[in-house]
């Protein structure tokens, strides 16, 4: 039986984090990762801590990684420039690479073959946020789909695992696991792989990081 995982919840307060963790458990998720820890631990779901590092320069990223790696279960880097994307692609402390959701920023900044070559075989993953695919305007949505599909083509060619997360900042933006896999159909991802994107692949990241923490003296 699959254990569904939402690796990207972005609540604004610890109370909202708790509300979102509870909702995630009702929707059928087993694990979530939130950028703010919930006010009280929720019994029905395991919660991991996550940080999204926004960096424009490689040096900024290195400093942020030094400060944050041991404090968070999951470390994601939003690649705001090519320099940061390259640095994140080769740094073992990074779990997830994600790219800006704004098509204008993404136009000159995407997962290229060079970065993909650096990520290949390392266990780092490329993340797609379903919040990017929720209806805004058809024009914007079509642009976002084109840009994500371009990245996915590169990721698939280099066997880079892809994670699908909600990227929800409010409970209203959260969806049940099957809705996320259905949204992946917009990106021409087949149903089985879409299910892996929200279960086995993110679960492996959490397990790997827990194992690393246990190994440390």
């Amino acid at each position: 039986m699959r254990h569904y995982v939402d690796l990207h919840l972005k609540p604004s307060t610890p109370e909202q984090a708790k509300e979102m963790a509870l909702l995630a458990s009702q929707l059928g998720y087993r694990h979530v990762a939130t950028t703010k820890p919930p006010a009280d631990p929720c019994e029905r779901i395991t919660t991991a801590t996550r940080i999204d590092i926004d960096a424009k320069r490689g040096r900024e990223l290195l400093e942020a990684l030094k400060r944050s790696r041991r404090r968070y279960d999951v470390v994601a880097v939003r690649c705001l420039s090519k320099e940061v994307a390259r640095q994140a692609a080769k740094d073992d402390r990074v779990d997830i690479l994600l790219f800006p959701d704004d098509p204008a920023q993404r136009k000159h900044n995407w997962l290229d073959h060079h970065e993909a070559g650096l990520i290949e075989g390392t266990g780092r993953v490329y993340e797609v946020n379903a919040s990017d695919l929720l209806a805004t305007s058809p024009t914007r949505l079509s642009k976002v789909i084109t840009l994500i599909k371009r990245d996915l083509t590169v990721a698939m060619r280099h066997d880079i695992p892809v994670v699908l997360s909600s990227g929800a900042s409010t409970p209203l933006a959260m969806r049940e696991p099957k809705a996320l896999t259905a949204l992946a159909s917009l990106l021409d991802v087949d149903e089985d792989y879409a299910a892996d994107m929200i279960s086995t692949i993110p679960e492996a990241i959490i397990e790997r990081n827990h194992a690393k923490v246990e190994e440390e003296p």
Binding site: L27, A130, L133, A135, L172, A179, A182, L183, L186
Partner: protein, 117 residues
């Protein structure tokens, strides 16, 4: 020999989370527009959606589609973020191949109009 149905259907029980109380017509128009945005007129024809019922009190509804387009309907429902300018989310709770089984599983009674027939 058992008669074979020409078109197989899927029935989806959904719940709408929103602060307002949208009417059935608004729900239908929102779903239809979402399908049109994502898949166009051809997609709408293939999915062949039909809002079977919607309860304004519980905000639960049943919608039908063709058997092999369930994923497209789910994607269309998932991508809805608002109804008549109020933020909203559609969440599918159960699915079934027959409306009778869906109602039984979800513990929903037949609407009065239908039960009277």
């Amino acid at each position: 020999m058992m008669p074979v149905r020409g078109i197989r259907r899927r029935y989806l029980l959904f719940n709408v989370t929103t602060g307002s109380t949208p009417e059935e017509k608004a729900i239908w128009e929102t779903v239809r527009d979402s399908i049109l945005t994502l898949y166009g007129v051809k997609g709408l024809s293939l999915i062949d959606p039909n809002l079977i019922e919607y309860n304004e009190e519980t905000k639960n509804g049943i919608i039908r589609c063709t058997h092999d387009t369930e994923r497209f309907l789910r994607a269309s429902l998932a991508s809805i973020v608002g109804i008549t300018d109020a933020p909203a989310a559609f969440r599918v709770q159960r699915t079934s191949g027959t409306i009778k089984a869906l109602r039984k599983k979800a513990g929903i009674e037949k609407p009065k109009k239908e039960a009277d027939k």
